[in-house]
Amino acid sequence: MQDLSDAGKGYSNGWGFTNSFNTEMYTGGIEEGLPPNEAGMSRNDTDFMHVYNWKKLAELAKNKKNYKLVNGHKVIPISVAVANDALFLIPEPKSPHGVDVSPDGKYITVCGKLDTHASVYSMEKIKALIKKKDYLGKDPYGINILDMKKALHGQVELGLGPLHNQYSNVDGEIYTSLYVDSQVVKWNYKTLKVIDKINVHYNIGHLCGMEGKSADPQGDYIIALNKLTIDRFVQVGPLHPQNHQLIDISGKKMDMLVDMPLPLGEPHQAVAIRTSKLHTAVRYKMGTNTKTGKTHKGKTLAGQERIERKGNQVTVYATLVRSHINPERITVNLGDEVTIYMTNLERAQDETHGFTVDNYNVHASLEPGETSTVKFVADREGVFPYYCTEFCSALHLEMMGYLMVKDPNKKYVSATKLKMKTMTKAELQAEYDKVVAVNAATDAVIQSVVAFLKANGFDKYPDVANLVTDAFDQYGQIPAQKKKADAAKKAGDMEKAILFEGMIWQYMVKTADVGIRAKDNLVKHISTKQSAAAARGDIAFDEGGCSGCHVVGKVSSGPDLTGVLGRHENGEKWVAEFIKHPEKKFNEPYVKAMIDYFKLRMPNQHMSDAEIKDIVEYFKWIDENANLF
């Protein structure tokens, strides 16, 4: 029976290594009064490491006479592998777990959990033995056995229950988990010396180094993947979470940094990679089937939404975008087979939409650009809301529709229509005017943001440029809505015109939302760097509650503080005094006028002298960048 494996690399590239156990070939039988498996299967002192040449085996598998087909799968028999010098055995300490090839591929370290030693095999010695055909004998299946002593570089006593190994960026350094001792041991597989040990909690299985099994291990940390947690965390019932412990290995002694409870199964092994090596996407090409990477046959763009019917097959081509699902009503007959293709038309980062039809056990998560499908038989009559399951926007709640399942054999009597209160012509006109005015005001804000972005070269900063593209995507939807609103108005349908104007406002709000985020990002790029004092002042300004009344660049509940230092004789001193004790200056004519204007006396926020100094520095920074606010 086999256990862990590893692929050779560097010097041992082309070879594979796999542990085995139960060389006794014990088959148990407690029920027949025989000793249990665990006793019979660990009787011998050694099991066998399988050493095989996968490059040779891959070549052999190309020729029909070298393999048998079992369940349609090519299987190379032992005899063929042996005859081609592609498979060997080397004794290893019994019941082995880890077999781990060193970064340069020259050494293979094996740990057997019932032996206190780790065994380091030398690939140079193994290759030499194979070349000389220096075999100890054959196993019952005819596989050549290499002499363990001749293949070993050496053995080291580590402790009880050694299991797995990881490497670091220091030459020869290796980290091994000790299951029974609940320890990680740091040692050197070349000099065969133990360097350091650390306790873990409890009963470690695998351990994870940073790229610790690659040709390029990074060091820095080791994570202990412990099997038992016992008292480490708040008790949550008899089933405990797992405990992953982070160990700092950058110093001479290992240092336990922190515990992480993992509440999802018993993780066995983990692998770590530098974040800088991952290049993930934030959106798909529009209409992608993400599982195949190809364009989805159900890809639907705005304006292409439709419901097609062929007999009892109903196919819906739908789109999702903040904040609606199109179509909003799907009516089918009982027993119809319904297929809904959905495309998320968003391009904005993190604008995922979810989709479900209530009570039909379907759910899809659509990331920007993704197309996916839900399919079901409409086997129950009734009305079933469907909705977006991700909180995607302020109008997320409204992103819904109805699946109506009718029984074609039933006659439905329409209930009396609830008469909505109708509005007079004048009322409708007033509402229309109001909506149009709000839209004009909102558009003015958008135009000012656009002017700012353009004046400050937004396209030089990719993060800002992406946001601007997203904003214009939203803004670009407006003309079509405007056309409909105007047409409705012309036809005298004010109700409809108001609804379309309302839709325009929706798009404007989304545009402004992303646009203002772009502006904030741009300001960060182009403003002068804040001094440490100004940065502290920025924080003190927020935390002292100042920003509750003062918005930099705008008059709000208090005056705009841009340029405040220049507004007074001896400005820095005056401002500092005013912040410290505003009440002492309430009788100054200037302040009096402001109190009249704002109908508010600025409260004493009890700022410390140090904080006030920092806030003054912050005001200086604002003045340097006044054009940006």
Binding site: M1, Q2, D3, L4, S5, A7, K9, G10, N13, G16, T18, H50, Y52, W54, L57, A58, V70, V75, P103, E211, S214, A215, Y221, Q242, H244, L246, M256, L257, V258, M260, L264, G265, E266, P267, H268, Q269, A270, A272, I273, R274, T275, H279, T280, T290, K291, G354, H363, A364, L366, E367, S372, T373, V374, K375, S531, A532, A533, R536, A610, K613
Partner: protein, 223 residues
């Protein structure tokens, strides 16, 4: 002359502010340490693992999810969770197992016609170029039902599941060869390769272990 003057003032102000805030910062720290019973070593350890809002981790860990049949993703050194990836098991948040595209992936993991909607994930493996991790693919095995799944690291989604047609359980997977030419998968419990009944008396003759080399196309997801 004037600008030099301002510059000096700035420096002095900065220096004073810095000392004061250090002193007040120090006492705030001591208060927290006292309230929470932390010693200096604890605070250093906390500082070594703390990510302020918006700061990203240096490493990303892909952990097997054990009996959940999933993969767990977290960051190092913050040890904070980033994602669960649905692999052998339906995962409702991602719609995995609830839309047709992902059902088709899970269906690849059927064994002898039977849906198997859980897995015992053991060993994740990262694809390699020249023996070094290249950040493109993640493979993970299922010990209970001999299968290997491939996750695309460009979007962290499971794209393919393959079933070993001869093993009845496996363990020693999923290890990439140095240029991701193959993925090594070794059996665990010996069992007959075929799908027939064999007496335990015939253990030595008909029960077998083995190692499977899955050809891996580094560009496409085809095993």
């Amino acid at each position: 002359m004037k600008s030099i003057n301002t510059f000096t003032t700035l420096c002095v102000a900065g220096a004073i502010a810095a000392t004061t805030s250090y002193a007040s910062g120090g006492s705030a720290l001591q208060k927290v340490m006292k309230d929470r019973g932390l010693n200096e070593k604890d605070v250093i350890r906390a500082a070594k693992t703390y990510n302020p809002s918006g700061v990203h981790d240096k490493y990303v860990v892909f952990s097997s999810g054990g009996q959940s049949g999933q993969v767990i993703v977290y960051g190092v050194p913050s040890m904070r969770l980033l994602k669960y990836i649905g692999v052998f098991t339906p995962e409702p948040w991602q719609g995995y197992g609830y839309d047709e595209e992902s059902k088709a992936v899970l269906a690849q993991g059927r064994i002898r016609g039977k849906d198997i909607t859980w897995g015992d994930t053991h060993h994740p493996g990262l694809s390699e170029t020249d023996g070094k991790y290249d950040g493109k693919w993640l493979a993970i095995n299922d010990k209970a039902n001999p299968r290997i799944a491939i996750i695309d690291l460009h979007d962290f989604e499971t794209k393919q599941i393959v079933v070993n047609p001869v093993f009845k359980s496996e363990h020693g997977g999923s290890f990439f060869t140095p240029n991701s030419e193959y993925i090594i998968e070794a059996a665990q419990y010996a069992a007959p390769f075929d799908n027939e009944y064999h007496s335990i008396e015939d253990y030595k003759e008909t029960f077998r272990g083995g190692v499977t080399l899955w050809k891996f196309d580094h560009k496409k997801v085809v095993l």
